[in-house]
Structure formats: C-alpha cells, structure tokens
C-alpha cells in the first residue's frame, strides 16, 4: 500500500471530523480518493495498526481519531462553531489544541456525575480545583485503549 496515500487518508479523516464532528465511512473515503471499498478498508486497517486511528473492534468503523470520538462520551467540546465528542479528559483539551482555538467543555465528575464546565480562552484554561486522573501507566495505554 502506498504510504503517501495512507497519510493523505489519515489527514482526510481528521479534516472530516473537524468539519462534520464525525469520521468518514469507508465508502465516503473510497469516493474521496477514487478507491474501491476494499482498498479503503485496507487503509483503515493499516492506520489502525499504526495507532493513527482506532477502529471499533472487529469492524472498519472509526471509533477514535484522537482527540476526536465517533461516539458520545461524557466530554462535549464546543469549539470552531461545532460540538465534538472527546475520548477523555485529556482529549477534551486536545480538541482546542488541535484546532488552535478557544473552547467550552461540558464534562462530568467521574465520582458523582455532576456537571463541570471548563473553558479555554485566549490560550488559557479557566478552572477550579478539578483534577485529571490517569489510571493506566503510559507503557500500557495501548493494551486496552477504550479502558485507558
């Protein structure tokens, strides 16, 4: 598989997330690049192998292109005139970092599910006494990315 094409597909997936708040299907990617469905599926699998995206296990559906999530989570990020789902607390800040923009983050406290609002304004965060906890050491993050 052509490496240059693989990285162009990766960039397309991210741009699609930015513009629509969801990942492209393999059919949409195939159409974009003039590929067969099988070729697009193979590229998705290759990007998954390289940890560039994370596919829903056993499928060719994109679950994550960090920091973006394809499924609803407890981290809703309002930025760039859109609302995105982030995979975790870190990724909720990853979205404004990737977009180089301000953001309003609607999240919940993991202990009691009470709402928490965080903001990135002019490159600075406004927050209270919140903490973000990393349960899994870095070297094991990819053992089970959903749990991580």
């Amino acid at each position: 598989m052509n490496d240059d094409l693989i990285w162009h597909v990766r960039a397309f997936i991210y741009q699609h997330f930015v513009e629509t708040a969801r990942p492209p299907t393999v059919d949409e990617t195939a159409t974009q690049f003039g590929l067969t469905r099988e070729q697009a599926t193979t590229i998705y699998a290759e990007l998954g192998q390289r940890h560039a995206i994370f596919l829903e296990p056993g499928t060719h559906h994109i679950r994550m292109a960090n920091p973006f999530s394809a499924i609803p989570t407890t981290f809703r990020v309002h930025a760039h005139g859109k609302a995105y789902w982030a995979n975790c607390a870190w990724d909720s800040f990853g979205i404004p970092a990737a977009l180089h923009t301000d953001a309003m983050i609607e999240a919940t406290c993991a202990e009691n599910q009470q709402p928490i609002t965080l903001r990135v304004e002019n490159g600075q965060v406004t927050c209270g006494a919140e903490h973000i906890h990393f349960l899994v050491p870095f070297r094991r993050w990819y053992d089970d990315l959903i749990f991580t």
């Binding site: 990285w7 162009h8 960039a11 991210y14 741009q15 930015v18 390289r50 940890h51 560039a52 960090n66 920091p67 981290f75 975790c88 607390a89 870190w90 990724d91 909720s92 800040f93 990853g94 979205i95 404004p96 970092a97 990737a98 977009l99 180089h100 999240a107 919940t108 406290c109 993991a110 202990e111 009691n112 009470q114 928490i116 965080l118 990135v120 965060v125 927050c127 209270g128 006494a129 919140e130 903490h131 973000i132 906890h133 990393f134 349960l135 899994v136 050491p137 870095f138 070297r139 991580t148």
Partner: protein, 73 residues
C-alpha cells in the same frame, strides 16, 4: 483519563472502585500536555511520534515518574 471536581472526589472514587492511584494532574497541566501532544495532529505530515519524542514531551512537563516511562524499566 477521568475528570474529578476535587482531590476528595478522586479519593472517594479510587476507594469505591478499589483502584490504585495512578497519576494526577491539574487541568492547567493537562492543557499544557494537550497542546504539546495535539498541536500538529491535523497536519498532513504528522505520522505519529517516536518513543523518544513522547519521552521528551513528558520530560518537558516534568513528568518523570515511572508512571510516564515509555518502556518497562
């Protein structure tokens, strides 16, 4: 990575779920980490990063504990 309103809320959650404490960062620290980690994620020439590059980011933020090491040592 989960968000907690306070240190006390985190402690209650760890006890309730019988989890060992991992690493805890402030929101400001995570914002710094997110900027270093994701600032070029949309670029065509972003092809992931090496273990050495990951380690350099952690070190830049003072994350030098074994929790942040990139290999079993």
């Amino acid at each position: 990575m989960l968000l907690f309103r306070s240190e006390a809320a985190l402690e209650r959650w760890l006890v309730k779920n019988n989890y060992a404490r991992g690493a805890t960062l402030t929101v400001a620290q995570v914002w710094e980490l997110a900027q270093l980690w994701y600032h070029n994620r949309l670029a065509l020439d972003y092809h992931g990063r090496s273990i050495e590059q990951v380690q350099a980011i952690f070190q830049q933020l003072g994350l030098t504990a074994s929790f942040w090491r990139t290999e079993q040592t």
